[in-house]
Symmetry: C2
């Protein structure tokens, strides 16, 4: 598999150099692998830190900025960052109001963020953690005990980031982040496998005429394989699976996410089908976001994330945000 | 090749339905295939219209909004829209100040926009046209007499859009658009071919160990095929080819563009190499944009566009923009 890289071992470092060059508004530490808001720490502002394996860009570094993350620590591709990175991020963004770690539910991330939280507390930094576990496809998985964390991470980071920007105290920012996670569920579908630079060949084998329903963002096995389906059929399965765990007809935030290699033309068409299914089920859509936000390298596919949003969550969603990958209202 | 679609014949219509659902701020006419700013026509504001074959999203419909395009008319995949669409767009956005057509240099687009301009003039709408022809790879190509129009389209639409938003008269908006095109050059590289829905298989054959230098945005042949190269080597070839036709060390706007299936992680790494080559050649980079903006469906690859920008072009580049795919400063 051909890649636009220098060598598998320098992919993350090269990307950070490129990010530094493109975004002077961010403080990028290539050696320590940290991407931090230039205006951090903010006086009277809770710090919001996330991170995880690389390969899901723009998640997380593309969400660092006004109204969203204070810092991101990228690990190697599909590999958790180390506690030192998380601790460095916490120290860089703590202005005395404490720090919230947003942690996707993968065993390595969970353990490393836990250790980093302990180290930070020893350094006198108050830390709360919120676990994102929105993927309804499977219980327990290749790298996860319990549900995996996927698309809801974007909702959690945006909405908790808005609360932090408004000056909400740590407990409140953590509470709203947990509320978003509880109100969110996702389901992903792969049309092709992804290829990590280290391996150089597809991480799993998906025959030409089949798709995988419920796939994870690292290509972890999903629920089942089926012969290729239409966009409408995929929307019915994905939305159906999500709504099974989010009953009721409350207005939702909708993320129609591409996993990397699916053209935007197809994603918008898929959004039309997702909206049709939601309308048929009587679920009002309050806001829609379509694009490649939580990706799996070059995987072709999509995921659907719904978040049942009350007035407060909607207000925080609409609040201004200014990051590399998500911007509005300012 | 698997696609997230209902059927090849409904791809554009489905995408427009999905765009309408996701972007209530746009007026999307699915039947006539028009995407128009809701506040068009603007009093005292020149209308800016572009369009072309679908499959290059977010170009052009993703660039409709405040400070950029007034309307876009998408054709079938890799096929020019028809004059009726362009005429409809012109009528929808003309508030008496006239309309500028931004036309990528492909024979079908050129002829159809020319016919639409004549029809619009008959209807009393003043029309100017600007041709975008920035691709240095080849002279004459599969669908083009002369240089192809590629990444510079984004620069032209953004900067002319800012001028229109400020209330500049038609001749002046057209002049600045032509100035941007003259100051811009591009070079593209394919690591894989793209697959159109109608064909269902790759549009050309690119062996596993090779890349194509100078490829067009529809997969048109480039300059040559070579054994796979590193990101740094590709940057040297691409930037070198562009600078040959843009001599001098004036500050540039830089677009590091993905053609669809190349992960953002790789694109940022490629940007690091592009910036390194530019620094070595003594070319200052004034602004950088990295992402999938002028795509070729699911093609893996990249392109580099440089625009030599004076103070006025930089100011218009920095001006607020609020579209589905490009937003800042407001």
């Amino acid at each position: 598999m051909k890649m636009l890289i220098n060598s598998p071992g320098t992919v993350v470092e090269d990307a950070l150099r490129g990010m530094a060059a493109a975004h002077p508004e961010l403080a990028v530490d290539v050696v320590r692998r940290l991407v931090v808001r230039r205006d951090a720490p903010g006086a009277g502002r809770v710090g919001l830190v996330s991170g995880g394996g690389s390969g899901h860009e723009p998640l997380h570094a593309g969400f660092v900025g006004y109204g969203m993350l204070s810092a991101a620590c990228p690990g190697e591709v599909f590999t958790s960052p180390v506690p030192d990175q998380m601790l460095g991020a916490a120290a860089a963004v703590d202005g005395g109001e404490g720090v919230l770690f947003v942690v996707k539910n993968y065993t390595g991330d969970v353990l490393n963020f836990e250790m980093a939280a302990e180290l930070a507390e020893e350094d006198g930094i108050r830390v709360e953690r919120v676990l994102v576990n929105d993927d309804v496809a499977v219980v327990d998985s290749l790298y996860t005990a319990g549900r995996r964390g996927t698309g809801a991470t974007l909702f959690v980071e945006k909405i908790a980031g808005a609360a932090a920007e408004e000056g909400a105290p740590l407990e409140q920012v953590a509470a709203v982040a947990r509320r978003v996670n509880e109100a969110s569920r996702s389901f992903g579908v792969a049309l092709s496998a992804c290829t990590t630079p280290a391996k150089g060949s597809p991480t799993f084998d998906l025959p030409e005429g089949e798709l995988e329903l419920g796939v994870g963002i690292h290509g972890e096995p999903g629920r089942e394989r089926r012969p290729m389906m239409t966009s409408r059929e995929i929307a019915e399965v994905a939305v159906g699976a999500v709504l099974e765990e989010l009953p009721g007809a409350r207005p939702v935030l909708l993320l129609v996410n591409g996993t990397g290699a699916t053209p935007l033309l197809e994603l918008y068409g898929f959004n039309a089908e997702v909206q049709r299914v939601l309308a048929e089920r009587g679920v009002p859509v309050a806001r829609t976001l379509v694009g490649n936000y939580v990706t799996s390298l070059d995987m072709a596919g999509c995921s659907v994330t719904l978040c049942q949003a009350d007035e407060e969550l909607l207000r925080l969603w609409d609040a201004p945000v200014q990051t590399a990958a998500l911007r509005w209202g300012r």
